[in-house]
Symmetry: C2
Subunit: 147 residues, 2 copies
DNA sequence: GTACTTGCAAACACTTTGCTAGTAA
DNA sequence: TTACTAGCAAAGTGTTTGCAAGTAC
């Protein structure tokens, strides 16, 4: 990943390398594990492109989704989050702070259920809900004050 | 499940047994595996309660969610789907017809990843995407016509 | 009787679309 | 040059909320 070139990535999937698209890719690359929402991407781009609009962000993300460059993650909250990580991976979702953490799990045994339902799987995703380390510590501290 | 009594269910979770709530529960029970959206529930209720509003449907569903009577499922498409099935189960999602199928999987081994991230899990959900039996057959038939 | 619920309309948040000027190839 | 893209504004979709009238308990 040391030789990441947004322009190349775009050419590889036959998308025009506009400055905005390059910037969106770089923002996603930089924010990495932060799984930004469209708004967060918009804010990040606003510095370099004061005239950028939400339409461009959404159009760009849609192009990238269609091209398979990223994944869209939708959870309990409203806004979609976008994930450039194309490796097979899963997520921890903190129900307190809303944070999303990439995890890697041993393969889940789905063969039986696919056979049963004659279902042609294209992929699967495991979402683990709960409370992250940071929020647990905060909760414990708050609880302490009540002792 | 032969002795399902919506009124009892509501009393058990300290919710007032209004006719609309009872009807929503019964609709969810009847539609079962269909995982209806708020709109589908609204349409189903409209017959019995011509004056019912979306606000009531959403308020009711929110009460039920808070009471733990059902689960909210959000996928690629826009509208949330509601699932009365409170057993631990997972879903097949057909990317062609959008159908959602309940499945039961052997436990996924998450202990390691939880330990690693010091994450307190409250639950997990596996979403398997792909093409269901019915849609696969349709696709095959269409493909046949091109031979 | 009281606190909660309904139904309406309006507001809301997120996303998409129609269009014109502009730009990558 | 030509087909695609950016940016704007407006519309669309799913969901939530404020409030007056009504109802479960």
């Amino acid at each position: 990943m040391d030789h990441w070139d947004a322009m190349e990535v775009l050419k590889d999937v036959n998308l025009r390398a506009t400055p905005q698209r390059i910037a969106v890719l770089n923002v996603l690359k930089m924010l990495g594990q932060a799984h930004p929402t469209a708004e967060e991407i918009y804010v990040a781009l606003k510095q370099e492109f004061p005239a950028i609009s939400f339409a461009t962000v959404y159009n760009t993300l849609k192009s990238f989704l269609d091209a398979g460059l990223l994944h869209e993650l939708r959870f309990g909250d409203k806004a979609s989050r976008y994930d450039l990580n194309t490796q097979a991976h899963h997520h921890l979702l903190c129900e307190v702070c809303g944070d999303l953490i990439d995890i890697y799990l041993p393969e889940v045994d789905v063969a039986q259920v696919l056979r049963e339902h004659e279902f042609a799987m294209s992929g699967y995703h495991v979402e683990i809900r709960g409370v992250c380390k940071t929020c647990r510590e905060h909760t414990l501290h708050k609880a302490d004050t009540h002792l």
